[in-house]
């Protein structure tokens, strides 16, 4: 496919996506306004426009950015701390069925761990700043490990067999076969994991009342019954989650195009 056609297709996809997102957001806003009118209680469902005003105030407040950056740092720390071992363990598990068998119950156990309940234990061991990272790691690791392992198994087994027959060196196999073919799948998993990491970290921060964090600000807003601020913080967190996931999805899309 020519470069021009790809660019044209890409523009069409972005335009379609943006249009659909705007319609979805408008629908949400209409629902919100409708719910506010129906409930008629500012404490339960604040006015949509008051929330918009609160978003504006937050975006001009230096304290919000400080809290937001610290939360983002926790999210990224948890994410990268999970990606590295999950990647390494997935490769070992792919190569060794025994290792895969040993890890399987551990991963299953981690998957069924009630993350926020464990937070109470982790809070005793560590501080309110570290606990959200630990909790996010405990949930992200099994998710990413399973995703990466599936990505490796999604590589065409016929091509793997062909490479084996022709004694293709390992380095060449990694860079020409495994990485390009497994990367789109792994990137999609990572995108979902990053958005999930944000959700977990913010939830853990709320529970731990972490100082200088988005979750901490939410808890504070709840305590002082500043409902528009609380809703604004939730909306901003939701928006950041979508942006993070979309960025990685775009990257996965480009890699997939390059491969196929």
């Amino acid at each position: 496919m020519s470069e021009q056609v790809i660019r044209k297709n890409w523009k069409a996809i972005v335009w379609k996506h943006a249009w659909q997102t705007l319609v979805a957001l408008a629908l949400l806003a209409v629902c919100w306004i409708g719910a506010h009118w129906f409930v008629g209680n500012e404490l339960l469902v604040p006015d949509f426009f008051d929330c918009l005003k609160s978003i504006g105030e937050l975006l001009t407040d230096g304290a919000f950015y400080k809290a937001f950056l610290k939360t983002l740092l926790r999210v990224l720390t948890a994410f990268f701390c999970s990606v590295a071992p999950a990647g390494i363990f997935a490769v070992i598990a792919y190569l060794s069925p025994t290792f895969r068998g040993i890890l399987s119950p551990i991963v299953s156990a981690l998957r069924s761990l009630p993350a926020l309940a464990v937070l109470l234990i982790v809070l005793v061991w560590t501080g309110a700043g570290i606990a959200p990272i630990v909790i996010a790691f405990l949930s992200l690791f099994p998710m990413l490990y399973t995703g990466f392992l599936s990505a490796l198994f999604s590589v065409n087994s016929d091509l793997v067999e062909m490479s084996r027959v022709y004694n293709v060196p390992t380095k060449r196999r990694i860079f020409s076969l495994y990485l390009p073919n497994a990367a789109p799948y792994a990137l999609r998993e990572s995108g979902a994991a990053l958005a999930f990491s944000l959700k977990l970290v913010v939830s853990a921060e709320v529970l731990a009342s972490t100082y200088q964090s988005v979750g901490g600000m939410m808890q504070e807003a709840r305590l002082y019954l500043e409902m528009p601020t609380l809703f604004a913080l939730v909306a901003l967190t939701f928006f950041v989650g979508i942006v993070l996931e979309s960025l990685i999805s775009c990257l996965a899309y480009f890699v997939e195009r390059r491969v196929k």
Partner: protein
């Protein structure tokens, strides 16, 4: 090269002391009905399947032309040839001979089925392997393309005359390419013939007497 092997899949015994000697430089054609163990035998020779018994002088670096082209979708034709370790000069030469030079920068999804299989054949010849294994590489192609690809294969093979083991269930293909034709039935060699006509590829449709003999065993 010599093999005396036994192989089972669960309770099903595919080969029981199957004895075969492959002469150096010959194109040996293994013919048999589907499920008679032809591909298993090829995979044993390629080291992809385990078996009981003895394998003598089977080289470790084999070239394998599979039923499907098995090309890496993210690599161009030229990159697919260098992926298996082909040197630049050899790749150039093979691309020229297989008339793939104009497609060298294309990816597999830009090629037709016949062109893809031609790349797979070219790939087997860019590696310096003393043993070529072919697992029904022409089975999914139409007759005209099949004849053309068989000719390509024969032309490339004549250069180095490596030992080749060619598996097929198509009598015409076996006749066109086999210097020696071995018919496998019930895990044993039912017929082992060397047609008089030695020039490869043989004319499609010829060898009525040999074919009649093979059919008698197969049916």
């Amino acid at each position: 090269m010599k093999l005396c092997i036994s192989k089972s899949y669960g309770k099903k015994r595919v080969f029981d002391n199957f004895d075969l000697e492959i002469c150096e430089g010959e194109v040996l054609c293994l013919l048999g009905a589907s499920g008679c163990g032809k591909t298993t035998l090829l995979n044993i020779l390629a080291g992809l399947t385990d078996c009981e018994g003895e394998l003598e002088n089977i080289p470790k670096n084999v070239a394998y032309i599979f039923q499907e082209p098995r090309l890496l979708p993210n690599l161009t034709v030229e990159q697919n040839l260098s992926y298996v370790g082909g040197r630049y000069e050899v790749i150039e030469e093979i691309l020229q001979k297989t008339e793939l030079k104009e497609h060298r920068n294309k990816r597999p999804n830009e090629l037709s089925g016949g062109e893809k299989q031609r790349v797979a054949i070219a790939r087997a010849f860019v590696v310096d392997s003393p043993l070529l294994l072919l697992d029904e590489p022409f089975s999914s192609l139409d007759t005209a393309l099949k004849i053309r690809l068989i000719a390509f294969f024969a032309e490339l093979w004549k250069e180095k005359k490596q030992t080749a083991v060619f598996v097929t269930h198509d009598l015409e293909e076996a006749w066109a390419l086999g210097q020696r034709i071995v018919v496998i039935k019930d895990g044993k060699i039912a017929l082992d013939i060397t047609p008089n006509e030695q020039v490869l590829p043989r004319r499609y449709g010829g060898g009525a007497q040999e074919k009649a003999e093979i059919l008698k065993v197969l049916l």
